[in-house]
Symmetry: C2
Subunit: 120 residues, 2 copies
């Protein structure tokens, strides 16, 4: 038995309101949802999101993201940009460094859309 209670991150979001499995999703929502999934569907980006999410306040300095994934700063910044554009992270500059913060609810919303059993 499955019980899921998840807040919606943004009720205005085109992809927000139709769980994938409660009723069939239309082409526009499938397009929107696939864009978000594509942004996450990369091993480096998953690790970056995971590190940010596990950090204090769900926020991490870019300086602490480079070594764990073993890539150059430009490459890491490129992946972080994709995650920002998809709405998973926000960025703020403090002093020399950029800090990346998890957008509250963004992963939970995606999770809810995918969960077949929760919507029954």
């Amino acid at each position: 038995m499955t019980v899921t209670l998840l807040p919606m991150a943004d009720p205005q979001d085109a992809a927000c309101c139709t769980p994938l499995t409660r009723e069939t999703i239309d082409a526009d929502r499938a397009e929107e949802l696939s864009r978000k999934l594509k942004a996450l569907a990369d091993p480096t980006r998953l690790r970056l999101v995971s590190i940010v999410a596990a950090s204090d306040g769900e926020e991490a300095c870019v300086c602490d993201l480079i070594e764990p994934v073993g890539l150059s700063q430009p490459t890491v910044s490129h992946h972080l940009k994709i995650l920002m554009e998809a709405g998973f992270l926000t960025r703020s500059k403090r002093g020399t460094w950029a800090y990346y913060k998890l957008v509250p609810g963004a992963l939970g919303q995606l999770s809810q859309l995918l969960d077949v059993t929760a919507s029954r």
Copy 2:
């Protein structure tokens, strides 16, 4: 506040046991999870999964999947193969037609891995 109780589809699965946001995932698990997300990260495949999931018994004849997505049968079969290989659907032949069934727990497992709030 978020409460999620989800069964694991396959405890042996390499990607099964580390929620993305409870602790940082390692490179192997990120690779495995990204493969599953890539399989879903396509508008047609999302619609196919959605149609199958919304069908009686979470199973649909390929003959009922072609018209809704507006693609040729070979193209639809190609997408269905990717979804099978990623563990989201199984296929059985009955008479003339192939039937595709949702793998119980496969989407729920993915959902659980993505859910930042559920793991806190």
